[in-house]
């Protein structure tokens, strides 16, 4: 008995768990991207399966329509890029806050605050020279967004108030303020329509619109398009934020606070100051996006003009691991998916009855698969070995 080797019995082996999960210390970059790419393909397959099983839509037709609806031709490509720019702008704004592990889910409200301030200036002072008007609108938008970011940050750093819940509530307050102005401005009309949109009133017509800057010149060069400017501004913000987070002292402080507040304090970083400063930046950029939306896209204000991107941007920022350059790609991908599936429902509704709401089901399936793949990047599943180990 004494020299019997410890052989695991069948019973003992079955008691060991079938698999256990360990955290990966690191993963080669190519492997992470391979996992993401495979999950992207997997998501596309699932979407096709969903459309095929429910309404018998041919997968090839589905992909073709989706791609066409997202990218092909000027009528589809420009709206996709412009919406991506808006989404990117908000995601970039969230990046520093998230990197600091400050869960700012109030981007929607910060965008609305900025949009509201810009629209207010536009509505009340349409007789100012247009360049000056746009400048004041821009500053007002940035300040309003910054204030909306500052309030929860101040309470967080002073009293430790939960920032996730605080910023969430701030969204609805902003939305209700916008609703209030919307309803009082529209008066008895059924909808507000465009602010300064009355052609008959020459003095105020298109005041505060970005395109009004070039209204008098006859040519239509590339730089005279609001769409182009929206895209350029968002792209440069992404690049600037990448540099800010990676190569500046403040960016480094954000990273340290995000990793460990105790370390930051030990290193002499004032955590409260970094938290408040970063949230003002985050909110201000959201406010800038609100200004852009009002002056270069919607030319009006309503609680819907952020199109829910304040929430989608959270998903974008998280999926990109706070790398603002990756965000550009993710933003285009999500908007393309949204516009593509919209095109699918438009194309197949008449023939198969595929309802319009399927677009959000498709988005949901896609997002679930993509965010689920992060598990494989961060963790590893170790299966129980089948061979006798210690025999």
């Amino acid at each position: 008995m004494e020299n019997a080797k410890p052989v695991r019995t069948a019973e003992e082996r079955s008691r060991a768990p079938l698999f256990h999960i360990t955290k990966r210390l690191s993963i080669p970059k190519w492997e992470a991207w391979l996992i993401r790419f495979l999950s992207f393909l997997g998501a596309l397959v699932l979407i096709a399966l969903f459309a095929y099983l429910t309404f018998g839509i041919n997968p090839l037709d589905l992909y073709k329509t989706m791609f066409k609806g997202a990218f092909l031709g000027k009528n589809y490509l420009i709206p996709t890029l412009k919406a991506s720019a808006k989404l990117l702008c908000i995601a970039v704004a969230l990046a520093p806050a998230f990197k600091m592990k400050f869960w700012n889910i109030g981007a929607e409200g910060q965008v609305l605050a900025g949009a509201m301030a810009a629209a207010f200036i536009m509505h009340e002072f349409p007789l100012l020279p247009n360049g000056l008007l746009l400048l004041i609108m821009c500053v007002a938008g940035i300040v309003a967004g910054g204030v909306w970011g500052f309030i929860p940050a101040a309470f967080k750093s002073r009293f430790g108030t939960n920032e996730t819940l605080f910023t969430l509530m701030m969204n609805y307050i902003a939305a209700k303020i916008v609703d209030y102005f919307y309803n009082s401005w529209k008066g008895v009309k059924s909808a507000l329509g465009m602010i300064n949109g009355n052609m008959l009133q020459k003095a105020t017509f298109e005041k505060g619109y970005l395109r009004y800057l070039w209204r008098d010149s006859a040519s239509s060069a590339w730089y005279q398009s609001e769409d182009t400017w929206f895209i350029i501004i968002a792209a440069s913000l992404a690049a600037a934020m990448y540099f800010y987070l990676k190569n500046t002292k403040q960016g480094y402080e954000i990273a340290v606070v995000g990793d460990s507040q105790a370390t930051a304090r030990y290193a002499g970083i004032s955590v409260n100051r970094v938290v408040i400063r970063t949230m003002i930046i985050s909110g201000a950029l959201c406010g800038l996006c609100g200004f852009l939306t009002v002056s270069a896209q919607s030319h009006t204000v309503s609680s819907e003009i952020a199109s829910g991107y304040g929430f989608t941007a959270i998903i974008v920022a998280w999926m990109s691991k706070f790398n603002t350059l990756v965000m550009a790609g993710v933003a285009v991908m999500l908007v393309a998916l949204e516009n593509g599936s919209q095109a699918v429902t438009n194309a197949f509704y008449a023939t198969t009855g595929f309802p319009t709401s399927s677009a959000s089901v498709i988005s949901g399936i896609f997002l679930f698969v993509i965010i689920g793949s992060e598990f494989n990047i961060n963790y590893k599943i170790n299966f129980r070995r089948k061979t006798r180990e210690e025999a």
Binding site: T22, K23, T54, W103, I105, F155, F159, G160, T161, N162, T164, L165, F166, L168, M169, M170, Y172, I173, K176, I177, D179, Y180, N183, S184, G308, F311, T312, I314, I315, W318, M319, P355, T356, S357, S358, A359, S360, V361, S363, G364, I365, L367, F368, I371, G372, E374, F375, N378, Y379
Partner: protein, 325 residues
Amino acid sequence: MPVILTWLHQAILFGAFIMLAALGEILTEKSGNLNLGLPGTMCVGAAAGIIGLDVYSASGGKSAFMIIVISLSCAFAAAAAMGGLYSFFTVTLRINQNVVGLVMTVFGVGLAKFLSACFVNIPASGNVRFERAYTVFSAKVPFISSSLGWVSYLLFSYGFMFYLTIALAVVLTLFLNKTRHGLALRAVGENPAAADAVGINVIKFKYLSTCIGSGITGLAGLFCVMEFKSGAWSTADISSIKAFGWLAVALVIFAMWKPLNLIWGSLLFGIFYWAYQYIIQIPTDITQMLPYIVTIVVLVIVSLKRRKENQGPASLGVTYFREDR
């Protein structure tokens, strides 16, 4: 009937289904899962309940008992499945809770609209009315609902779901504070590592509380359609249920995660909601902003006092991995 009584009556009815949704969310959040997918879950629950009803009434069923059983179990099951999905992503795959919750809301609202478009025949303009189900759900207690004057009007003139909600608040309070499993659940929400160390199955508790909590939230969606919307169903209703869902998320914070606080909290939210009909000097949008403002005030006061029993579960929003330090 004095105006104030009508106002209170409406406020109580409005508050009741928000409260039911918030009850489900409290059960979920006690396990440390901040389920921001609540609005989506509520929509899915409502849609599933309606589909169950539609199928049953299309086959000619009229029995009150069956209507209740079928609609409630469909709503509960579908919403609990949404809770299962949430738990799978946040507990098993350990994905960030905020991200999953927001995706759940997008997906849930879309799914509710999709399912209802597939199964329920809604006319192009307007809505479907479930007349028979509405009578069943809004049936009042005989005798007592009229014999006590204004007391009856305020307290006894609602359908059975209202009393179910109040009872559930009491049961949940007892469960959380007086039972062993309730203690274990609270331990999971406060400090999952410690709970794990004393042998509590953290994963099982997180899954179960989230699924059951989501199921209850789903019932709230059905409750909203059956009483508040008088049994009428249309795609636009799904969007308004979503808005009510966010109100329920706020209510949980306002009640400081205590089920019994929901009773007066929901009454207050209801009063705010209907204020525009009675105090016409203040614009609707401002009175509807009040619930969110008072919630922030409560949130700040709670953090000022730093008393642990008023705070949310300590691990709320944090994913748990045993091997993390």
